[in-house]
Every structure is written in C-alpha cells, then in structure tokens.
Symmetry: C2
Subunit: 332 residues, 2 copies
DNA sequence: GCAAGTTAAGCAAACGTTTGCGCAATTAGA
DNA sequence: TCTAATTGCGCAAACGTTTGCTTAACTTGC
C-alpha cells in the first residue's frame, strides 16, 4: 500500500498533524526546517494524498464535473477546452463523464457518479435531463449550470441567443438579396429550435416575406437530416438560400446539393449554424453563424465559482453569449 | 447537509451497520422486512452515498479513468464510446480527464487527479507521457494501459499494428497500379510514425520501387501538415498516389490538391489513415485504412479488468487490433 | 528574573462508510 | 428437553486526512 501521512510523521519524528499542515501548504505552525524534512520524506516515500480521506473530512473538493451528452457533438470539445482552461486558471480540476442522452438510466448513472462525491459544481453540456434526474440534481445541493442549452424556467444556463441566431442567419441572406430562404434540419419543438425558428420568422417578416410551409424542413441537426432536407427541397427548388441548423446539417445539405447538380454558392447559398472547424475543411468553406463555445465553458466555470462563493445562485443566472457571422464561400 | 446512513438507522430504529448492509446489497444479515423499511427511509430522506467514505474504507472503487491528450483528436470519441460501453456492461463508471499533451505540468495535474483517488484503472489515450509522469504512474500501483499508442518497451498497450497500416495502405495503391507514392504528414521519429514508415518502405521494397526522398513529407498528422505536404509535392508532382497520415491530413492534402488544380482521384489518389466519419463527409469520400477505435476502448477495459483480477499484468499485455481498408472515392 | 506574549508542535475528535466479531434469539437435531 | 447450528443484528474499529484545542518552549519587555 502507498505511504500515508503517518508514515512520513514516523520517519521524520513529528506528528501527523504537522505533516498535514506542511503538505497542504498551511502558512503557520511549523518551521521551514521541519517543512524541508517533511517534504524530503514525502518525496522519498512516494507519498500520494488520499483524496477520499481529504474529501471526507473537508466535505468539498476542487473538482468540477462536466456531464456531456455524447461524444458525437463536435462542439463539445470546444466547450470543454474553455472549461479546462478557466478551471485550471483557478486551480480546479476537471473530470468529464459521458452520458447517452437518450437513456434516462444512463443519465442517472452518470449523474450519480459525480453527485456521490463532493464535487464543487456540475456543468451539463447540452443534456436534456429527465424530470427525475433533474430533481435529483437539484436535491444534491451542488451548484450546477447548463451549457449550450436554454430553458424557459429558472434553471441556470449559459448559451447563445438562439433567437438571434435564427434572426441573424436569415437576415444575412436577405441582405444578400435572397427572398426565398429555407430552414433545414431544425428540431422545431424544443426550446432551442423554437427560438431559432422564431428568429427566422421574424427576419422574414421584417422583409415582408411570407414563407411557404415547405421551406421549413425539420430534423435533428444531423448530417443525414441536412441531406434529407435538401432532398425534400429537390433539384428544382425555387429557394436560393438555406439556413442549416448545424454544421453537420449544412455539410449534409451541401453534399446533397452537389449530388442534385446544384452549385453552391452560385445556384444556392448555404449558411450554417455553429461554426466549428468543420466549416473550414469542406469545399466550399461554409459561411456560418458561429457560437462562442469556448467562452460558454469559461463562463460556466465562473458561474459555478459564484454559486460556491455566494452559497446561492446569482440573480442573472441565465446568460447569453453573443454570436458572430463569418462569411466564407458558401454564400453570395 | 445530506442525510447519512446514521440518520436512516435512527429513523428506522436499527444499527448503521444493518443499513449499510441493506444499501450495498449484501445478501445476508437482515430480513427482507428490515430491508424494505431501510430502503423506504433512504428514499424519503433523499439519501446519497458518500463515495469518499466508501473509497476510504474499501480502498477501491468501480471507477475507470481515461486520460485524453486533447479534445482535438477526432477519434478519441470513438475510443471513449468503446470504453463507456464495455465499462457500463460490467458496472464500472467512467471519468475522463483532459490533458494538454504538450505540457508535462498539465499532464501531471491530470494524472494526479485520478491517481489520488482509488480508481480501479487508468486508460491513456494517445498520451506521450513524460518520464517523470510515467514513473509516477508506475509507482501508483494502479493498473494502466495505453490506447492507440505503442511502445518498444514493456508498457501495456492496445493499438493498431502501425507497421501493417503503413504496409497495407501502400500496398493498396501499388495494387491499383501506382508506382510513385508519397507519404504525407507523418511524424517519422516516434514509435507510431517509425512503424508506419517501415510498413510503407516494406511495401515499396517488395514491389521493387525505390522511393525518392521527396516522397516522404513529415508532419504532425494535422490538417495543415497535410496541406503543407501537398504544397511541397507541388502542382507538377510525378506522384500518382499519396498515403496520408491521418484523416485530417488527408483532407488538408485533398483541399490543397484541388487548389493546385489536381483532380482527385483522376490525377492523384489519396488514401487516408484512421477512417473516422470525416472520410465520409468530404467530397470525394476518402478511401481509408480504418482503425477500430471502438474496439480499442473495449479491449482496454478488459485489460484493466484482468489486471485487477490477476493482481498483475498478463503476459500478452501488448495487443494489436486489426485494421480494415474501406475503398471510397479518392483512389483509383 | 519574571510575567506576558508568541510560536511550534502534539493530541484527539471528526468525516461516513464497511466489516469482523460477538451476542441473543430462534430453529433444528437427537 | 438439551445441545448445536443458524440467523438477525449491533458494537466498535478502521480507513487517511484536517483542524480546534492544548501544551511546552522560547522570546520579549519591564
């Protein structure tokens, strides 16, 4: 078994409490001479702190947990990068657990893994939590915050302004002179999709454009959803522009457009939502409404930190991160 | 504070030890009647096990830790999926920590996060560990296994056969009639790159082809490395086929080839190494030597399990996972 | 030279579990 | 009916830390 604080104490000829104080960098109660001896002994014995013991007595740790819906979403990486960087800056450690969004039982297990130990906060990355699991999370009294996902109730979250996303994307195409604009692969009913749809409608409305029902092709943000939407529009569509619900959906639509013999952007402009690096590796590169995922991670950590300090969620606990449009080669 | 086992004991009028036995599903030492009462009380009080306490006394947990080099690598997701699925099947939980490969200090922190608690095993996903950190890992006495990375010393690992990868990719092009074949964006010195290079050379050698120095463009497997390699080959290259070190490198080369006015596959065939979904979303779709990343994850968990059971690493602790070639549209 | 103040270091309790052991009550065997 | 085996359950120790309190030693001021 690994060496403990007592082994060090015995070796140096000092009390365990003193060793503890040295090793956890308390500023008082020992001489620098003792400190040196203790540290030397610790190194020599290959001492590793037993965090279980520490967390048991301190009832808190410096660990932030992130629960991620799936490995598939290609922006999760950027959010995690942001969390990691901000956490690291404050001396927190990050652990990530994955949970298949579909299964409530899997969600529960993932959540329990982090709730059952005294993590300082929980960040949920685009996870649609079941009611039971949400209840469990709330009851745990651990600060939490949803990332890249909004709600119309009082749950804390950090996300982009989905209404603005829908609005800006559509407006961008309108300003380029397009009048017939599709919305592809969006999931119309959940909060995010509803808001984007509302933004899309608002922009059209302001330009006195009345959308045809067929312009809106719902889907699940995936590559195949983009493909299907494009198939539904068809070769002879009178649309000249498309707002795609995600980068993957945009790529699906782009490839299918090519299959149909439509040239992007000459016959058809496509603007994508998300702005991950995917946009830059396809040809033509995709114009996008880019979300600042990295910043979401950073802000998420700050939210957790606030909750820990204030012992309560702050009032403005629902925060929107601005988006930016990057014009590339898929629109004209 | 959350309810403890003692609160339940008091409420039901029973000893804490009995509660513990009920809640951890011990098969004996209580009546089903007591069990019911205990479970009811636990539910009512919203009881959550304190894993820190459990781990402290048991000195082991059912948590497997994965250390990932970075969020950027697009195959890490597949490996994690495999780990997750196999772990879940055996009732283990998975936590993931990210570590920037570049910084030894970051690595150390990530490693400490998992070593300092009694995880049952550590999986390292394409992490080049510094000597100090490797030493620390070994001394921790926690079973570990490298994934998607091989070594010529005795460290346990699960990876593809990199020699075979280089060989098969090259042979595939040779069998298609190519004689002048480049190797792009590969890092020549580390074990992986060295082996792939050896496989490439072997295949050429068997076909009595003597490679020109300029055929091999080293790099770091990235998109830009693929781009640079293609730039180096140039518009007027006499190469007719290229083996790209990774999917991203292949896409970089593909896009640059288009910029140079070369048509793929008509003027130039490209075969990619990895076979992630990226291959299927670019145009033309990339022929690839596909690694079975999912399986690596699965086998990695099995390795950990063995080590835990046997209390020692098994003899054949370096395992190679077969690869498969998927012919798509970037070769002819 | 002595009281008061300061400092280093030790003692012991506490955190929430698990588990070996012991005891009492019940059941079985003869 | 008496002993032996079995069962349900409680007692208490243990896991490795942290930390409030106490003590001893040393310094300072007068």
């Amino acid at each position: 078994m690994s060496a403990t604080i007592k082994d060090i104490a015995r070796k140096v000829g000092v009390a365990p409490s003193t060793v503890s104080r040295v090793l956890s960098n308390k500023s008082k109660y020992y001489t620098s001479e003792t400190a040196e001896k203790v540290k030397a002994a610790a190194r020599e014995l290959g001492y590793k702190k037993n965090q279980a013991a520490v967390e048991l007595v301190k009832k808190q740790s410096n660990v932030i947990a992130a629960v991620v819906s799936s490995v598939k979403t290609n922006f999760a990486g950027q959010i995690i990068d942001g969390i990691q960087s901000e956490a690291s800056k404050h001396g927190y450690n990050l652990i990530v657990v994955y949970s298949n969004s579909a299964s409530a039982e899997e969600q529960r297990k993932a959540l329990l893994t982090v709730i059952e130990r005294p993590v300082m906060g929980i960040l949920l990355l685009s996870i649609a939590l079941s009611d039971d699991n949400l209840k469990m999370l709330k009851e745990s009294d651990i600060p939490y915050c949803f990332l890249s996902m909004g709600f119309d109730d009082d749950r804390p979250f950090v996300s982009s302004d989905d209404m603005e996303i829908g609005y800006e994307a559509t407006k961008f195409l309108i300003d380029k002179g397009h009048r017939k604009i599709g919305l592809a692969a969006i999931d119309k009913y959940p909060y995010t999709g509803r808001l984007r749809l509302a933004g899309y409608s608002k922009a059209l409305n302001e330009a006195n454009i009345v959308p045809d029902n067929s312009w809106i092709q719902s889907g699940d943000y995936s590559y195949t959803a983009g493909e299907s939407a494009m198939k539904a529009y068809g070769k002879d569509t009178d649309l000249t522009g498309i707002v795609a619900a995600s980068d993957m959906a945009a790529i699906g639509a782009l490839n299918e457009a090519r299959n149909l013999g439509l040239r992007v952007p000459d016959d058809l402009s496509i603007i994508s939502i998300d702005g991950t690096e995917m946009c830059q590796i396809v040809q033509p590169q995709l114009t996008s409404v880019s979300q600042d995922f990295y910043k979401m991670g950073v802000v998420g950590v700050q939210r957790i930190e606030e909750s820990v300090v204030n012992k309560t969620a702050s009032k403005d606990h629902q925060q929107l991160i601005p988006v930016h449009i990057y014009e590339r080669d898929s629109t004209k």
